[in-house]
Symmetry: C2
Subunit: 357 residues, 2 copies
DNA sequence: CCGTTGGTGTGTAACGATACACACCTAGAC
DNA sequence: GTCTAGGTGTGTATCGTTACACACCAACGG
């Protein structure tokens, strides 16, 4: 990249003007100047005009938010802890929907929204402590993530999405186990060789394919609960879990799921039912099936999760839940700051043409 | 949603402990307590241990970020103004890549990142003024957006991505006109009926299809420059702009582009070349072509923009640029706070199999 | 034995704004 | 004419932290 000249940023040595200077120039008291901004109705039209004129002349940009938040005790900002690698955080469509819900509430209430990306490094805790926010919402953290302790330690209202449950912090999410069991029933009905496409089981984010294994070691509560739900659904349908193929994708997107599904479908004994953890993944599976010439749902039944637009387009059986609403619920709970609440968000299974029966 | 009981949030009437209280309990001066946090090496092991013990006992969560930022003069936070409707801001893959680049730099430097969604309402300016941040990065605003004045008025380092150029503010972006002209040349080569799929022309975000029109009224500089580049490319190839079909999509995603492309391909005189504004849109076009049984590039040449993963997968001719790098460049420029710079980000046209010749 | 150095502790004065309480004045009620 | 109410202006005391400057002491070289 090349750089070319630019304009100067502000008057050379000019440090920002202060309210006291504005007041002096306007020949009113500091408080009158302060009220001009915080409660305009409190001052006479005349005084207000004088103050604004002086502010204009000095280039006063309004009360300093730092000083204001110290004095007032609130920052008008909500902190969002994204417990995911940066590369994925913004590209994960589920995260996007969740963030949109938070942003909605923040906008309605005139709050800002501070994103705190968690890297797994020890300074994560310091970042949480250093964040000037009135409350926290935590998205997809591992159960043992030290950032959770940091959030608890700052003693501000905080809500965790999906889990884990942390004493003193709020919790918002669906019953992933029950929902997975229910949608798994639709996926595995009439199947002979069921399979699951999963989110990462650990922070290392490898793509792997293997038989279903113990889920105790899975540190992401949402993923673990869904896996357990699928295990129950498989059991309900008469399958041993270690006979179910579980493919783990490093990230939540259609392209990777398509690649993994293609591998599965090329196996000597390919699955004839695949339960995925998102509609994006399921869409990838459908594309892989189309490429492999496999008919959905006759030769392969597929289920997604979220009931997003793509599920409607493709006619996917899916778990309907609103991450947007859940994000909004988290934000509201964190900002209202009452006692820590647990919110069980609603879900249903929407049956469409991607599953048999 | 149903709510169930939760744990109490903190000790009943306990307001947060202060550094002075910690110092008193530890029997050291306030400064010793302060240094324990800000410069641990400055105090003896013994004193540090006493302070930390006292802090632990009082449940002191560390220095209050509000007071610290007031005293220090910096907030260690970067503001990001998202000039897009909330629903789209997080779901636009280009925005996601851009934000990831910003987040990268913020993480490296230990900065937080405050998102300021802009709604178009008058209180947007107030939000910008109220944001406790050290600098701003502005993403996709319309040229006449009052939020730009607000950003300028707070007199903090700020960088606008893509445009418009604002006196005193930095600017980062590619030469969209030149890039569009170049990729348009690839798209329209050998075509008889060229078409363009565009981003929204105004905040109203309607989906429309019509002949190429004047671009002066387009308020988003990036979109306008690309349209003008496509117009030039069309002229270079001997087409009048009002004979080029321009389809405007309300949002940047594959599904909508697919629907729009399907409509175009169903016209009595369907286009045989489509230049899109993102790879996601181009992917939608390719899917629509496949559905319509049109061969790419023989019957329809397609170009995208960004050279994202999907462009590689589908073999799309595309404008290679890195929004991630550009996000990082914006963040760096805003945080370094030097004089306002203009950065012309690099781009090239990558030719692949989706275009003729 | 003196002067210098470096490590450690501390008091004071901001940083910029606002809550609060009080003073003053004009109207209007009685 | 007195009293109350409401509108407007202002002084002071914080909010919680950190920069700065200085004091003190032990160690050490000359």
């Amino acid at each position: 990249m090349t750089t070319s000249g630019g304009a100067r940023r502000s008057s050379p040595g000019a440090k920002r003007a202060t309210l006291a200077e504005v007041a002096a120039l306007a020949e009113v008291s500091v408080m009158t100047a302060s009220y001009t901004y915080s409660r305009p109705a409190r001052v006479s039209d005349e005084a207000r005009a004088k103050v604004l004129a002086a502010a204009e002349r000095l280039g006063y940009a309004g009360p300093d938010p730092r000083a204001r938040s110290l004095r007032r005790g609130s920052t008008q900002t909500l902190g969002v802890v994204l417990g995911e690698h940066l590369t994925y955080a913004f590209e994960d469509p589920q995260a996007a929907r969740f963030l949109a819900g938070i942003a909605q509430v923040c906008t309605e209430r005139g709050y800002g929204m501070t994103i705190l990306p968690v890297t797994g490094a020890p300074q994560d805790a310091a970042r949480v402590r250093a964040a000037a926010v009135d409350g926290f919402v935590v998205w997809t953290t591992a159960e043992d993530d030290p950032v959770l302790d940091a959030v608890r330690a700052v003693r501000r209202p905080a809500v965790v999405h999906g889990g884990p449950a942390v004493p003193g912090l709020g919790l918002v999410g669906v019953d992933n186990r029950a929902a997975a069991r229910a949608v798994g029933a639709a996926a595995f009905a009439g199947a002979a060789r069921p399979a699951v496409i999963s989110f990462p089981l650990s922070r290392s984010r490898e793509t792997t394919v293997g038989p279903g294994a113990a889920t105790d070691g899975v540190l992401f509560p949402v993923t673990r609960d869904r896996l357990e739900g699928y295990r129950l659904a498989a059991a309900d349908a008469g399958f041993r879990w270690d006979r179910v193929t579980v493919a783990v994708c490093a990230r939540n997107d259609a392209a990777e799921a398509e690649a993994v599904a293609a591998r599965l479908l090329a196996l000597p004994e390919p699955p004839d039912a695949i339960a995925a953890m998102s509609d994006e993944q399921a869409a990838g599976v459908v594309r892989a099936a189309r490429t492999a010439g496999r008919s959905v749902p006759r030769e392969l039944s597929v289920t997604g999760w979220d009931d997003a637009d793509v599920a409607v387009e493709l006619g996917l059986t899916s778990v309907a839940q609103s991450l947007r609403d859940q994000g909004a619920a988290c934000a509201r709970a964190a900002l209202d700051g009452g006692p820590a609440v647990t919110v069980a968000a609603p879900w249903t299974v929407v049956r469409r043409a991607s599953t048999r029966g």
